[in-house]
Structures are given as C-alpha cells and as structure tokens.
C-alpha cells in the first residue's frame, strides 16, 4: 500500500488536487457556485506552474463543454466542472461528449436547479443529466470525491469504455466543508492514472477523420448501440480500476457500499453525503436490536441493477431516499431505478420512496430515523404511502 499524507481539505480542494495529479492537457470552465473554488484552486496550480494544463476561461458553460469536446476530439485529457444551472446550460454538448466517446472528466458539484434560485445541494442537476450517456459516480465525503476523481480518468479512458465521467459531490456539504482525508503522492497518483492515449484525434493529419457529422435515419441508431454497449462494458472496468485503486490506497470501492446490509431486514438506499448521517442512524437502530442497513450507491450510471437486486433480495422493506424530485413521475429517479431493478427479482422486497433535502434542506438524524421506523412498520405488513416527502412543512 502506498504511503499517503493525511490532509485537511474541502471537497473542492481535494478534487482540484486529484485533477492536478492526473495532469490534464486542457481545462475549460466557467465559474458557478458551489463549483467555483474547485477550478479556482486548479487555476492556482496552473498559474504556479505545478501542472502543465492549458486553462481555457470561457464565456459560458455551453462554451466550457464545447471547448472540452473540441480539445478531447484533438486527443487531449480534459477536465471541467460545473453545478446546477451551469450544467443545464451545457446540456446540448453534454450529450455530444458522450456520443463522440470523449472521456472528459467533470466535477458536478451538486446544486438545486432553479427556480426559485437556490445555491444549495440537491441532486436535481445530476438527475436531469442521467440519460446523457455519461458515467455517474457519487461521493459521500471529500475523501471519496478525491478518490473518485482519480479513478474517473482510468474508467472513462479505458479502451472498452471511452465515455465521459461525472464526479458528483454535494454542494457545500462536501464542496465547502473541511474534511480529513488521505492523499496519494504525486508520483503514486501518476503511476495509477498514467498518460492518456486518445482513440482518435482531429489533429492527426496522417489519418484524417470527420467528427460529429450529420447522422440521420440510416446510421444514428447504430451509433447509439456503441454508447449502450460501452455502458455495459463499464461495469467490469469500474470493478477492475476500483480494485487496483483499493490495493494502492487501502480504500476499496465497488458499485455501492453495503453498510451493515448483509443481515439487515430493513434497508435504506441513497447517494451522497447523507450516507454519513444514515450510518449513524442505522447504528442507533442496531443498538436497539433492529436489523437496519444501508446501501450507498456510488455508481449511478451505468446502473448496477443486477448487483443491487441481489444485495436487497429478501429484505423485508427497502426505503429509497431521493435528493431530487422528478415532477409528475411516480417517485424520485433513484426510486424508479431501484424499484424497477427489483421488480421480478428474486425475493423482491417492498420498496418505498422518500424525496428529501431539496434546495439544501438539512437531512437530520430525526428524518432518517422516521424512515427506518416506517420501514420497520412496512416490514410488519403495515400499509402506507409508497412515495413520501421528508423534512418539508406540509
């Protein structure tokens, strides 16, 4: 295992360090809260000569992603970052990055979408982009944001994958909170990430290519097959890269973390920083003799449906907590995925849903406690609402 330094950093700083250690050729970005500090820190590294990256300061997020796509199509390793409305403005090009199979790494510092305008955390930005073709990793802490940011390059750039990767971490809760974490040395990190060999480059005059041509009824569908299958192959790559990173850092990662889940009768499924709070509540219930557990999803795209169904098989009740509303849908986006993964699966448990924490509303111990109480009731066969709102004044 590599020797590591114990440091105190915010999530934004931790990701900036990971990005520096990955030595990207190009970074393009436009500031938006709460992402700004990440690129600010990274720009410091560039200005101080600590990393040799072409920093492109653009006039909007649409341009940030456009510049990222252009640079990546030229064969560069590219990073960018955004949040909320910035991500929404990138929208069109976010899809293009995945379609062109360009492994751009982006920090998406999760923040509520307008309106009304709100700068705090929820996952509505990421959930809106869930069909864009990117790999989505979610983080519980600054440590995980750092680790996932390093692994993102290896996952996205793998020849079997070649897809852009989004490193999602909660705005302010992770991005702006100083956290204690362990960081690899620059050498060890570089040995792990390594140089990038692009699949193609528009600057390769020996092998001229056309990137992004008009693609109509005769070929568009076939090209989408490429994206669909790359996502399927990404599972093995995520596993292999995570295992290698685990051996190097001592921090193991998989599609999800199972916390006291194996023998649990009731279980919560969620993503992001709320997992820390949920673990405390699970512990408290365990002390009372209640067999509670947590499944913290790390890999949201591609969605590990089979593994998740296996981990939740036979539970007496499962509660999915969504930090995003999907208006007009039956429950939040994570709920519909989880429930669909379990439908028809072996020993299918009842699945309930709680939408919580919108616009940065604090999710405290009491709220998660009420979820576990309700799951315990459901496990005893007591009926109630399937889709619920949590921590809101009704």
């Amino acid at each position: 295992m590599a020797k590591q330094e114990q440091v105190s950093l915010t999530g934004n700083e931790a990701v900036a360090y990971a990005f520096k250690q990955a030595r990207p050729h190009v970074a393009s970005a436009f500031p938006i809260t709460p992402q700004t500090e990440m690129m600010h820190k990274f720009a410091d590294f560039v200005a101080n000569g600590e990393v040799d990256t072409e920093m492109i300061l653009v006039e909007s997020e649409h341009s940030a992603m456009s510049a990222a796509v252009g640079a990546a199509a030229a064969g560069a390793r590219v990073i960018t970052a955004t949040s909320s409305a910035g991500f929404a403005l990138m929208w069109e090009i976010v899809y293009v990055a995945a379609s062109l199979r360009l492994p751009i790494c982006m920090a998406l510092v999760n923040r509520a979408l307008s309106g009304n305008i709100n700068i705090h955390c929820d996952h509505s930005d990421a959930m809106g982009g869930r069909d864009a073709g990117w790999i989505h990793l979610f983080c519980e802490s600054a440590q995980e944001a750092y680790d996932n940011a390093l692994m993102a390059f290896r996952i996205g750039e793998h020849p079997d994958v070649r897809l852009p990767v989004m490193i999602n971490y909660d705005g302010f809760i992770i991005s702006h909170t100083a956290d204690s974490l362990r960081m690899l040395s620059a050498d060890d990190a570089w040995k792990f990430v390594g140089p990038y060999k692009a699949a193609y480059s528009v600057l390769d005059t020996e092998n001229p290519i056309t990137v992004g041509p008009l693609d109509l009824t005769d070929y568009y569908f076939e090209h989408k097959v490429g994206e669909i299958e790359a996502h399927k192959r990404a599972f093995d790559v995520v596993r292999a890269v995570s295992a290698q990173y685990g051996a190097l850092s001592g921090r193991g990662y998989d599609f999800f973390e199972s916390y006291r889940l194996d023998d649990a009768e009731i279980a919560i499924v969620l993503m992001g920083s709320t997992a820390g709070t949920a673990k405390d509540v699970v512990d408290a219930h365990r002390e009372k003799g209640v067999k509670a557990g947590l499944l913290k999803l790390r890999l949201f795209r591609p969605f590990p449906a089979a593994e998740l169904a296996k981990a939740l098989a036979g539970k007496k009740a499962v509660g999915v907590m969504d930090r995003a509303a999907s208006f007009g849908a039956w429950g939040g986006p994570l709920f519909t995925e989880v429930r669909s993964a379990l439908y028809g699966a072996d020993r299918q448990p009842p699945v309930l849903n709680w939408i919580y924490g919108l616009g940065g509303r604090d999710c405290d111990l009491r709220q998660i406690d009420s979820v576990l109480e309700r799951l315990a009731d459901a496990a005893r066969g007591k009926s109630g609402e399937t889709v619920n709102l949590l921590g809101v004044r009704l």
């Binding site: 379609s99 290519i209 990137v211 097959v225």
Partner: protein, 102 residues
C-alpha cells in the same frame, strides 16, 4: 450501398475514410434539378465554383477545363449554378432548372 451493422462502425460515430461522401447518395431530396445545355456553355467554370456541393462534373484532362454535366447523386437542386451561369443573361442558358420527376 449496403449499410453497415452497429459493430462494424468506429466508436463515436466518426468517419475514418476521407472523402467517402462520394459513395453516399445525398441527391435524393431535390425538388428541382439543373439540366445542362451543352451547346450554350462557354466553360467559364462559374457553376463549378459556386456549387455549394461538388455536384458539377468537369473534365480536367484537356488544357482548358470543360463543364460536362451534373452529379445527380449529390446535386441538391438549389439552382445557384443556374443563377450564376453567364450565358443565361443573353437568353442562351446553359443551365435550366426543371422539376425533378422521380
């Protein structure tokens, strides 16, 4: 032209063969098409320069290039060539736009 299957295509929908638009028929959504009236042509090459596609065929083997007709697999029927064809001003059009009856 036989269409390739998904797994035969390069990742990212890129085109790796230079100039393969030549083998791809994009001239099938025309409403009008240009017809070449050879005896009125002064071989000025205006049509060849103005054509937004590459649908004007020319013969470059002689010392002076000669207009020889249209590539209807790629001509979009925009009529720009006919607009710029000089003999038309003297009432002896070398390019006449006609409805494309397919």
């Amino acid at each position: 032209m036989t269409l390739k299957r998904a797994h035969e295509l390069p990742a990212g929908g890129i085109i790796v063969e230079a100039g393969n638009a030549d083998a791809y028929n994009t001239g099938d959504w025309r409403t009008f098409k240009p017809e070449f009236v050879a005896e009125n042509c002064i071989h000025c090459m205006f049509c060849w320069i103005y054509c937004p596609d590459t649908a004007v065929n020319i013969d470059t083997t002689a010392e002076k290039s000669r207009m020889i007709g249209f590539d209807y697999d790629h001509c979009k029927g925009c009529g720009i060539c006919a607009q710029h064809c000089p003999p038309a001003a003297k009432g002896k059009a070398a390019i006449v736009m006609v409805r494309d009856e397919k």
